[in-house]
Symmetry: C2
Subunit: 223 residues, 2 copies
């Protein structure tokens, strides 16, 4: 949308609701790391810089708190969420439930599988190009596609929320080491098994991947 740094769509145009627009601006600023975990969102400076009133900004804050990407501390303000160890474990608890469930009981259409193949192609290309961000993005796209097989809008929303928190986790790590390259083949396996109709095996493989990824991630940010 607004890849340009410093300029957002319009300061005072007509948007669905101003509050929702403010929330979306903050959401993308957090997603791409302009606002780093733990940093404070001052009501005064933000309302001034976005050109909205404090009340409207506050309404946007409510949404973001509900999405879990921002934390409110009473009488102290709101801060970009800085996921703890427990938060990471909770993220993987959720993923270990809903992703294998979608694999086991979702609708596996061949067009979905083709889309997944395309994502994997992008992932391998990204690996050979040595681009960590592209690999991370492709990985998120693949797991989002897995959830999409469930056919449930709500679960997609939940997954979006979870993946947003995952991005926060990566942003908390000073260095972003190569976390994804050695998992590409597991995604290949996953899609192969799905295409072969081996749902149970696919689900088990997915669960063991999530276990391994969680363990490595926890070790990496081991306090």
């Amino acid at each position: 949308m607004n890849a340009l740094p410093g300029e957002f769509p319009a300061p005072t145009a007509e948007h669905a609701h101003t509050g929702a627009w403010v929330a979306s601006v903050l959401r993308s600023r957090i997603a791409d790391g302009q606002l780093t975990p733990g940093s404070k969102l001052s009501e005064q400076s933000l309302s001034a810089s976005l050109g909205v009133s404090r009340n409207t900004l506050r309404e946007a804050f409510s949404s973001l708190v509900g999405e879990g990407i921002v934390t409110r501390i009473a009488n102290r303000g709101v801060f970009v969420a800085a996921p703890t160890r427990d938060d990471v474990q909770e993220i993987y608890r959720v993923r270990r439930m809903i992703e294998p469930a979608a694999v086991m009981w979702g609708e596996v259409s061949s067009s979905d599988l083709d889309a997944m193949d395309a994502i994997i192609a992008e992932a391998t290309a990204a690996r050979e190009a040595g681009s960590v961000p592209r690999m991370a993005s492709a990985n998120q796209a693949l797991h989002r596609a897995v959830i999409a097989m469930s056919g449930s809008e709500s679960l997609e929303v939940l997954m979006t929320r979870v993946l947003a928190q995952m991005r926060l986790v990566f942003h908390t790590m000073s260095s972003a080491p190569d976390f994804h390259s050695h998992y590409v083949h597991r995604n290949v396996d996953l899609v192969e098994r799905l295409r072969a109709g081996q749902r149970a095996e696919a689900a088990e493989g997915l669960r063991s991947y999530l276990d391994a990824a969680e363990a490595e991630l926890l070790e990496h940010l081991g306090d």
Copy 2:
């Protein structure tokens, strides 16, 4: 308008955040049917009757919209959500994923199973007493307990959200026929299989129960 004899904790006492308190008041009024699906939540009358400002009420509205139990129509106001046929199907899509997942891959502690037995005892007692509300409540408690086996806070929150929408569905039906009595035995089967460690069978049985319940519910509110 304001002649309602409602007694809530305190109009102007110390609560975490006033907005959160307002949201909780509205939440319970909707849950127990004081506010019926489709009815409008006027900013003016509600802010007056609750003794909060319109801005604070608005903040509460934001939360409730995020929880899906209230719908906002631009320039028209917010209304108690009136779940459609599609919404019901979405509810069951979610449940058909996360409940069997918790059964398949959750932690089955014997204390959890004992708690489930107690819930089933309450359900059978309610059936013999002919109390539909008690049966409905026990049923919700049991399925909430199933999700609790996942160990995931987020999934419990999602389940709470889903069950709140289920209550809205029941409130939309003029007559609340006996929907639960003939499903009690399936809950008994579920717990028995769980206790026997037959997870796959338990999950399949749960899925077929959810299919049947959805079908019956859809037929009952067939427009």
